[in-house]
Every structure is written in C-alpha cells, then in structure tokens.
C-alpha cells in the first residue's frame, strides 16, 4: 500500500508480552543544572549523550549497554506510555511545535491502522541536527519511533529521508539490520527516500510521497492524524521529536521536564551554521542558554552582524540582540523570532544582510512546489524586489511595493511556505532598516563581501 515506502528488513513480529508497568528507571543521566551547550558525547547531554562524534553511529549493543532496553511489554502498555507523553508536555521539534500527545491521541482514536512517519528529511539546507541524530544515535531515534508506534497502536513505521542524505539513510538502514539481528521487538520499518526539495519535509508532502505521490504539500481539509496516507490516520513526527520518546519511556516525564523551562520543557537540538569557526556544529540545549553561548561553542568570537533563527524561512535578529537572547521559545518570541527547526545561521560583519536575504528569497522562491499562485508569483516578485534593493537599484516606493507584496502572502498557500518566506523577509526589512535606507539612497554598500554566506543547494528537478 504505502507506495514510495519500501521494506528495510524483515523485522520479526513483536512478541505480545504480558502487560507491565511502563516506566522503569535504568541508570539516569545526570541532572540538568549547569549544563550549558552540550556537544555530541557531552556528559550532561541527553539525546546526544554517549560516544563522541568521531566514533560514528552508536552500535545497538553499545546503545543497550548505555541506556538499557526499552521497558518490557511496550505495546500492551500503550496507555501508560501515552500518559507519560501527555505529562511530559513534549512539543514537536520539526518547526511546528505541536503537542505530541495530542497528535498521537487523535490518530489513535481516529480509527484502524494508523501510520507513523518519522520525518528525518531535514530540508533546511544549513540544519544538521536531525542528520547528526540519525547518523550518531540511530537507535535512540528508532527506540523513540517504536514507542510512538506502540502508543499509536500500529506495527508500521516509515523512516522518511531525503534521497541526497545518503548518510542518514545508511545509518538508519544499518541500525534496522542490527535490531532485526538482535530480535528487537520493533514495528516493521519502511524506508522512503524523497527528492531533495525544501518543501518535501513538510508533513503533508511527506504523507503524499509515502502514499505514492509527489513530495509536494497538499491542501488539507482534515488533519493528517485523521486522514493521511491512503486515508489512514497518519502521524508525522520529526526525528528529534521521536528521539525524546526513547528517553521519556525510560526515565519518565518528571526527569524529562527538568530540562528546558516549565512552559517549554525538554532539551532541544540546535545547529549553528554560517560565519562561525565550526559551521554545522550540532549542540543540545539542556537548559535555557543565551544564543551567544551557543555561537561561542561553535567558534564565534563575539556578537556577529545578525543571526537568522529557526531556518531559512525563520526570522532575522540583530547580532547584539541574538547574543543575549536565550534559545528558548518564549525568550525568542519576545525578541521577535521562533525556535523553528533549531537553526542559528550566523551572518558575519563583512556580509551585506540585504544581499543575503535576497539570495535566500531566490532560493526559497525556487523551492515553491508550484501549486499556488501567490507562492509562485509572489515569492518570485519578492525575490526580484530584494535583489533590486540589495543592488542599490530600488527607491523608497519600491520598498513600499515590496512591503505590500509581503502583506499579501500569509495564509495564501496550501502550506505555510509563503508565510515563512514573507516573515523572514519582513524581519529583514525591520532588523536591517538602516541598511534599507542606505541602499535606497543609492549609496554604495559598505560591505564588500557580497557572496552568499549561507549554503544553498542546487535545485532538484524531481518531485518523486
């Protein structure tokens, strides 16, 4: 049935063990306080605890020695696990931030044969946190997926990756093989490798691709959790989101909530990209930590010119502001940003922020799925206006026109792609207001380095 999802390995059927109390504490990782930014292997890390990055993927037996097996009787204690997830307050880590317990409950109640899709298609070009998690801690991700499947009451889980992310797919496939050989009580794993398009990571696009269609977002009249792949209740969870379930099932909600803040509990992964010493650094934020500390951990010497927070369709913050803002949803919101996919893209002092924004807008316009008029024509117009502005060819009237174009975009697409791009560009016009004035007055851009600082992949021509 699941058109673009193929069997990874013939995992044995899960033994129907007797019901047992759900949450057992194996050796718990240390307490959170004083954690700071945690790189891979840091003793206070949670998702990223264990061997260092140089050791590569953690083998199944190493994983089991470190964390212990998942609690016995997983499938029959779905109700207990659902309560733990509910009590945790875990919200999705892919960008939407939707409550995990609610999504799972809706799908479980919706009817027969729900489907789980683990979204490891990290479509943000500069983000690497889901990739690092899958490549270094594949069994934490798969444990979490097994927990989510048990709570859903399904024996099928699709691992959804990008075709170009061969390392991620290889790590997951190898991990599935190890578990199968060890007789792990897992759901049947299916692998779906989608084309490398930005919007292919959107949940409805993932569901569309898994059901055999294009990896394009769909206009939904009902949530996927009620009617998704082939009409089955479908839950799409980001790889980091399910990884948290692996820890929740072992250590319980009370421990899990000691990370993060009471309103937004749990640790979260961050990717630092752009003008830092070590771009691509993935860190785990266990307690509220200023963005400055995260950038420093990736080799930044001091506040940069600006930081693009949450993804390429995120929000710009001035470097000084970002440096002091905690990487935590409420603090970011107060500063005018969102956590998004956890990306911190750093723009150095030598770069022109308008040129960078124009480049990103062009990339994002090109990544439209081409289905909705406002997205197809609107984003192209916005990108063109931005290039004119960045090149000193636009006047004040042109900026006014650009603002009107931006206002016409939110809520106008089948998915939120145009909304995100409009928000990112609007934040640029606000944060870089002085630059806008300078550029409209025809003065030469004082920042000679006009090359794009952020990585932009070549356009993939395929949708299937």
């Amino acid at each position: 049935m699941t058109g673009n999802a193929v069997d990874v390995a013939g995992a044995p059927a899960r033994p129907q063990g007797p019901s047992e109390a759900g949450v057992h504490g194996a050796a718990r990782p240390g307490p959170a306080p004083g954690a700071g930014p945690c790189p891979v292997g840091h003793p206070r890390a949670r998702l990223l605890a264990g061997p260092g990055r140089e050791e590569g993927a953690e083998a199944f037996e190493v994983h089991l020695r470190r964390l212990g097996a998942l609690p016995d009787g997983l499938p029959s204690d779905a109700a207990g696990l659902a309560e733990v997830i509910e009590a945790s307050g875990l919200a999705g880590r892919g960008g939407g931030g939707f409550g995990v317990a609610r999504k799972l409950r809706a799908a479980r109640q919706a009817g027969i044969r729900p489907l789980l899709i683990v979204n490891a298609a990290e479509s943000e070009p500069a983000s690497g946190k889901d990739g690092a998690l899958c490549e270094l801690r594949p069994h934490v991700v798969l444990d979490g997926a097994a927990v989510a499947a048990a709570v859903l009451g399904t024996d099928e889980a699709v691992l959804y990756t990008h075709r170009g992310a061969t390392g991620v797919a290889r790590a997951l496939r190898e991990a599935v093989r190890e578990r199968s050989a060890a007789g792990s009580a897992d759901p049947r794993w299916l692998l779906a490798a989608a084309p490398d398009r930005y919007v292919a990571g959107e949940a409805s696009a993932a569901a569309s691709f898994v059901s055999g269609g294009d990896a394009r977002p769909r206009f939904l009249t009902r949530p996927l959790a009620l009617a998704g792949v082939d009409g089955r209740p479908t839950v799409v969870h980001n790889a980091e989101t399910v990884a948290h379930l692996a820890l929740l099932a072992r250590y319980g909600a009370e421990w899990w909530r000691r990370a993060g803040t009471p309103a937004h509990p749990g640790s979260r992964l961050v990717t630092v990209a752009g003008a830092v010493g070590a771009p691509g650094t993935v860190l785990e934020v266990v307690e509220p930590t200023p963005i400055g500390a995260l950038l420093s951990a990736a080799g930044a010497a001091g506040p940069p010119l600006a930081v693009l927070v949450g993804g390429y369709a995120g929000r710009w913050l001035a470097g000084d502001t970002a440096w002091l803002t905690d990487f935590e949803p409420d603090a970011l919101r107060a500063a005018g940003a969102t956590v998004g996919c956890g990306l911190l893209a750093v723009l150095g002092h030598g770069a022109c922020p308008l040129t960078e924004t124009a480049g990103l807008a062009s990339y994002l316009a090109g990544e439209s799925a081409g289905q909705c008029g406002p997205c197809v024509f609107g984003l192209a117009d916005v990108a063109e206006s931005l290039h004119e502005l960045a090149e000193g060819r636009a006047g004040r009237r042109d900026v006014t026109r650009l603002r009107r174009q931006l206002e016409a975009l939110p809520g106008r697409g089948g998915c939120n792609h145009p909304d995100g791009v409009a928000a990112m560009v609007s934040s640029a016009l606000e944060v870089f207001a002085d630059e806008v004035v300078r550029h409209t007055r025809g003065r030469p851009c004082p920042r000679p380095d006009r090359r794009g600082a952020f990585p932009v992949p070549p356009r993939c021509a395929e949708w299937r």
Binding site: L220, Q371, P374
Partner: protein
C-alpha cells in the same frame, strides 16, 4: 417544545463560509465578479477569500454561484462550525 431534526436545521439557516483550495486556483477570477463581497483578487490575479461566515441569503446565493462557476473546482462552501484551514494548524 422540541428541536427540529438536524437535517432541517442545517438546510434552513446554518451559516456557511467559503473555502478556497489555493493549490487549485488558477486566477480565472470569475468568482470575484460574482461574489465581490466575499472574494477579491490579489495583485497577481488569484482569489482572496473572506473566511468569515455568511448568514445573509443574497450573499449566500452569490457565494454558491461563485463556487459553482469556478472552472477549477477550487471553491467550496462549508458549514460553520468547522475549521476553514484545518491543515494549517497541525499536519
């Protein structure tokens, strides 16, 4: 004093609203000519729908015609309550 059956209540005055599937809209613009009160066109010629509910009979009739006239089947009427863009909130 008992309530009329649900079917009768719905057919009488259940307020409706217009829903647009933006992936289908191709910017023909016929809808905006028919139901100008509730449907406009943006600078690129694509339909912009006012999603608030319609109770008044004349507005409703024109909305219904606009829905029927769309060559792409991009418009529909849905009864309120019922989320207009459920998909946007959670997917």
């Amino acid at each position: 004093m008992s309530d009329p059956p649900a079917s009768e209540r719905a057919s009488k005055a259940a307020p409706v609203r217009i829903r647009l599937d933006p992936t289908r809209c191709a910017g023909h613009g016929i809808c905006a000519l028919i139901s100008g009160e509730r449907i406009g066109l943006d600078g690129w010629g694509f339909a912009v729908v006012d999603p608030t509910e319609i109770g008044e009979a004349n507005l409703r009739r024109r909305a219904r015609r606009a829905v029927a006239a769309c060559p792409r089947g991009a418009l529909s009427l849905e009864e309120v309550p019922g989320p207009s863009r459920t998909g946007a909130a959670w997917r």
